[in-house]
């Protein structure tokens, strides 16, 4: 490998780790703020560093600090297997994190004749890796629930395990029908397939080509991440807190963060398999590279408008009511943030201006295309994370028997049917 290739690989690994780990505080904050706004409240919005509240995201970091400094408490009855008790949340956390590493953030780039994957783990069997590693997370839940020597924990772990078994089937079969459609198990090739068009005008996104499989897989991924409406493993209204009843401090935080990384990973998988991955609709990577000048000009026009709209929104909403005497430095924050945003916009505009005059086959263009695709990917990721959050605060939790009924009696037959129909169509088209 040449030095630039090594640098690109390292950058991709760092990017993947940041995208997974830095997303945790943002997601926790989003969860609380979105929940608040849905319920006509505000959510955490006071914590600040030197008057910078950033909409309250500082609260997440304060929470992490609190959890780090909390007492490490072990229930007295855990005499044997304490090391396993400590490792259990780490298994959940690590498996969710590792599963994220196969998601492509952008199309392959060619650096000095070497084709590099923009994936932290450059493997071409991504979906198998996700299915294999993603479900190891349940081992952490089972171990944690079992070692707690607590009936609530054990019930929670049992629920989680049986729920996972019943939905992993539907998930796997849904994925099989997608593999049949795409003819590949490589995430990046799936995204390539989705760059085309169907019926002449629709982007060939998996959700439009295979709507039934999309619904099945999305539902199954909700179960896989243990989120509402399928969070029966926690079930705090029935079994205290389920499998992590006996966990405290950072050990609890590991489970907590693992859940959010799992949600992030599930969003990434849904995007990659069903919503065109890092690709803009209708625009394939080749088109993007050939016509980057035109796209750069579109961005030069769109970006200031978007930033201006955001600053207008911030000026209106980063305030207190007129009846309140002190604004707690919010006007100051708005002023500074607006200036920073404007400065960033100006810099990006200049870079785009330079890039728009570069030839289509230059290194700069392919680099810019990669960055643009990463930005599109992150934007889609955020949209789906917010979808996960909104669903959680919309739907009540399923009863345990309803979860099993839905999995075995509806999703499993449907996914089997979907495989048959897909196989017939694929064979029919091929022959």
């Amino acid at each position: 490998m040449s030095t630039p290739a090594i640098l690109v690989t390292l950058a991709v690994i760092v990017l993947a780790a940041l995208l997974a780990l830095l997303m945790i505080p943002v997601l926790v904050w989003l969860e609380r703020r979105v929940c608040g706004l849905i319920q006509d409240r505000l959510g955490p919005n006071r914590t600040n560093v030197f008057g910078f509240r950033l909409g309250g995201v500082v609260q997440s970091f304060a929470d992490v600090l609190k959890l780090v400094f909390k007492e490490e408490y072990y229930p007295g009855h855990i005499s044997r297997g304490r090391w396993l008790f400590i490792i259990a949340p780490m298994i959940t956390f690590a498996s969710a994190l590792l599963a994220f590493m196969v998601i492509p953030f952008a199309d392959d780039v060619v650096v000095y004749g070497e084709k590099l994957r923009i994936q932290a783990l450059p493997i071409d069997y991504g979906i198998l890796w996700y299915l294999a590693i993603g479900s190891v997370g349940i081992m952490g839940m089972i171990l944690g629930g079992w070692l707690s020597h607590n009936k609530y924990s054990l019930l929670g772990a049992l629920r989680g395990a049986s729920q996972l078994v019943s939905y992993e089937l539907a998930l796997g079969l849904g994925v099989v029908s997608m593999i049949l459609t795409y003819g590949t198990i490589d995430f990046n090739a799936m995204v390539h397939w989705q760059s085309d068009m169907v019926l002449g005008f629709l982007p060939a996104w998996g959700a439009l080509v295979q709507p039934l499989a999309a619904v099945i897989v999305i539902v199954a991924l909700f179960v896989e991440t243990n989120r509402a409406p399928f969070s029966v493993a926690e079930g705090e209204s029935e079994i205290v807190a389920g499998y992590f009843t006996e966990y405290s401090a950072m050990k609890f935080a590991m489970y907590f963060m693992g859940e959010y990384i799992a949600m992030n990973t599930a969003s990434a998988v849904i995007i990659t398999m069903f919503f065109g991955g890092y690709q803009l609709p209708w625009i394939s990577t080749e088109t993007l590279r050939e016509h980057f000048g035109a796209i750069a000009w579109v961005l030069i026009v769109v970006l200031p408008v978007a930033v201006a709209l955001f600053i207008r929104w911030m000026k209106r909403n980063n305030t207190v009511r007129p009846t309140v005497a002190t604004d707690g430095g919010r006007n100051f924050e708005t002023k500074i943030l607006s200036r920073v945003l404007i400065a960033m916009t100006v810099v990006i505009e200049l870079i785009l201006l330079i890039l728009s005059f570069l030839p289509a086959d230059s290194v700069g263009t392919s680099f810019a295309v990669t960055l643009l695709q990463i930005a599109v990917f992150v934007a889609k990721l955020m949209v789906f994370n917010i979808f996960f959050i909104v669903v959680r605060w919309t739907l009540p939790r399923f009863r345990y028997d309803q979860v099993q009924t839905l999995g075995w009696r509806y999703l499993l037959p449907l996914s089997l049917l979907n495989i048959f129909v897909t196989a017939i169509i694929v064979v029919g088209v091929a022959s």
Partner: protein, 173 residues
């Protein structure tokens, strides 16, 4: 034939649209998304009180706030130290020491009248029990804060210094 009386409860939502469950999910998502975006577009329209900068405005005269000892027309304490409130108190948070009253207005008065607000459950039974209308909970004070335990012990002078928060003070009439 003696069949047991079985009452069949009718099951609703048997239509296909209901059993598909997805239309209902999207209807719910529509409602929550509407709330989300309405509140996001105008965050100050959210009816949350920005406490402590904004104080509640809905405290009514019947609200049981912090206690106060009422006064007579001449400004002296109305309490006659009959111990009715202390006897009636379910939390046993009222501590009274009676003393003789020599100014001819009455025979007894409290030398010490302390309410431990850490013990108090704000039930208002002391107000109900008082035969002289000497203790009231109409100060409208809902927030009791302090840095030491002693800050929560309300002594006689502190209780006398509280005022009726709702209009005219009718206690000394």
């Amino acid at each position: 034939m003696n069949r047991p009386k079985i009452k069949t409860v009718p099951r609703y939502n048997k239509e296909t649209k209901e059993r598909l469950y997805l239309p209902a999910i999207f209807a719910g998502l529509k409602i929550t998304a509407k709330h989300l975006f309405t509140n996001l577009s105008d965050i100050n329209a959210v009816e949350t009180l920005e406490y402590p900068e904004e104080q509640p405005t809905d405290i009514t005269p019947r609200y049981r706030g912090l206690h106060r000892l009422t006064k007579r027309e001449d400004g002296s304490v109305r309490c006659v130290a009959c111990f009715m409130c202390a006897t009636n108190c379910p939390a046993q948070c009222i501590h009274i020491v009676a003393t003789e009253r020599n100014d001819g207005i009455d025979e007894k008065m409290p030398a010490v009248f302390t309410i431990d607000t850490l013990e108090c459950v704000f039930c208002g039974y002391c107000v109900e029990a008082c035969p002289c209308d000497a203790i009231r909970m109409d100060t409208g004070i809902f927030s009791v804060t302090g840095k030491r335990r002693e800050d929560f012990l309300l002594d006689r002078d502190r209780l006398l210094s509280h005022h009726n928060a709702f209009g005219e003070d009718t206690s000394d009439a």
